[in-house]
């Protein structure tokens, strides 16, 4: 029987969508799902975790500033007490930071950024990219606990409507690392790795000022983030946090719109698992068209404003 411990990340009680997806991923392993949470608002988030498939929730109570090494040690102790056979976290900044530490405490290997998980007759399998997705590995582990992080936008959110039995456990306070501040992003600004729609631009947008037509397109969607190719990040048009690709972020939104991007192998590695891909490029032979589901050959500076108006009209209709 599998027991899967899931780190459920939340902001003051609001679960990250990626955390709910991770609970959905846990369901594909079968057996019991237990959530572990920390920080202010954990009781509310635990209730949400219950409604998304967790039978139990353990809240790490107290602890002053967030301390990833202390939290990881506590999570590993919860896993050990439960006799957990698996540990999962979403592959967010926080999850990617915590999960390797938890895995090391459990002396278990970690499968990072998994796109699928399965239980094949009791053997747990992880499906994950190698070489930025140029190959897909199906792996098993001989280790004591099957540890994995789940790629954002790759697993369903399952609303089960259940209730979790919540217990508390005192958090450790002896961390060697402490988060002392957060310069929050502009509110409402979605991260490119989490947004369901990404509109990305490259050198074809001409200059940093004209690039701003993509901000307008993203705003028209409402649920979109702006991404960028490395060429425009290196040129200083856009911040590195927006770069998509092998040395930027790997994204998998429902809809990816590549504007004035040629489709270099390192860029493609970061977006080719997106649901639907649209390319807008003035060169009909640009490699990005080989990948795109739908393409428009044309000047971005003409096509994008027209597209923005059309999306506004669609959204206005509801």
């Amino acid at each position: 029987m599998t027991t899967t411990l899931v780190f459920v990340e939340h902001n003051d009680g609001t679960c990250r969508r990626a955390a709910l997806e991770c609970l959905g991923a846990a369901a594909s392993l079968g057996g019991d799902v237990v959530a572990v949470l920390c920080g202010p608002g954990s009781a509310d988030a635990a209730a949400r975790a219950g409604a998304h498939g967790a039978a139990k929730a353990v809240v790490l109570a107290g602890g002053d500033a967030f301390s990833p090494d202390a939290v990881a040690k506590d999570i590993a102790a919860v896993a050990q007490d439960l006799g957990a056979t698996a540990f999962l976290a979403a592959a967010t900044s926080r999850g990617k930071d915590l999960a390797p530490r938890v895995a090391a405490h459990l002396d278990s290997v970690l499968f990072s950024d998994c796109t699928a998980l399965s239980n094949e007759g009791g053997a747990l399998h992880a499906t994950r990219p190698w070489l930025a997705g140029k190959a897909i590995a199906h792996c098993t582990s001989d280790g004591p606990v099957f540890c994995a992080t789940t790629r954002v936008n790759s697993f369903p959110v399952n609303e089960t409507g259940g209730a979790a039995e919540v217990s508390e456990r005192p958090a450790s306070t002896d961390g060697k690392v402490k988060v002392t501040g957060l310069a929050a992003k502009e509110s409402g600004k979605l991260d490119v790795a989490e947004a369901p729609v990404v509109v990305s631009g490259g050198r074809g947008l001409k200059d940093p000022e004209t690039f701003a037509i993509l901000d307008e397109l993203a705003a028209a969607f409402g649920n979109a983030a702006v991404g960028a190719s490395r060429a425009v990040v290196d040129a200083g048009w856009r911040p590195h946090s927006e770069q998509v690709g092998q040395t930027g972020k790997v994204v998998s939104p429902n809809l990816y719109i590549a504007v004035g991007i040629s489709g270099a192998i390192q860029h493609v590695a970061g977006m080719k698992t997106s649901g639907t891909i649209v390319a807008i490029n003035k060169d009909a032979d640009a490699p990005i068209f080989k990948l795109a589901d739908y393409g428009i050959v044309g000047d971005a500076l003409e096509v994008v404003p027209a597209l923005t108006e059309a999306i506004k009209a669609v959204k206005a209709q509801g």
Binding site: S93, A99, R101, L131, A135, K178, V179, T247, G295, V314
Partner: protein, 250 residues
Amino acid sequence: MKIVACIKRVPTTDAQAKITPDGKGLDAAGFQYMTSFYDEIAVEQAIRTKEALGGDVTVLTVGPTEASKEVRECIAKGADGGVILTDATWTGRDARATAKVLAAQLAAMGAEVAFFGKVATDRDNGAVGPMTATYLGWACVTDVVELELGADGGTAKRETESGVETVAFSLPAVLTCDKGLNEPRYAGLKGIMAAKKKPLEEVAFEDVPNQAQVARLELPAARAEGRIVGQGADAVPALIDALRNEAKVL
């Protein structure tokens, strides 16, 4: 300060994947190799740390003997020496095994700060740095984009989905480096000449067996063929129609 930069030799980012006949490995024929992208940032930060605080920099890798080429290239930028932990049967190790081997070596060297890349661009684990720190009982900050380091500890900034976090840490520490932390320098001719005379040790080590087993490796399914819906701004209605009625994403 005893400073170490951990680097991995990986296939170049333009490498094409081919699967071996047993379906479990990558065919390395035709691969060219490089120091993993983020590890160059780690090496640069190690050298800058020496320049600011004094001490010496060792470039450390677990890998095949051939990795001496990449280690020498890193030394040429201003490190003081290199160590390759190698064995005759090198076939790659999983993140846990690599971390255990590195942890033992860092402890033996008396390292005080070890710079890692945030992720190696072959297996994309993003795990070896924090796992190594955990085995050592050291502090660790991942994905560092800004760093202030003193003799006993420091503060680092890391980019998250919610904004930029400030993190305080004590030494000894593992710091994993993200793009933006620095611009790696090029090795000058003088550095390249000097690197030839600097010590590069090959050290045998106690093996740690892998836990991860590859059941099967495959190439990603090709995407269904797409189509050009039209030219210029006039094609926008056709695109909207396709997104609404075919792809159903609007």
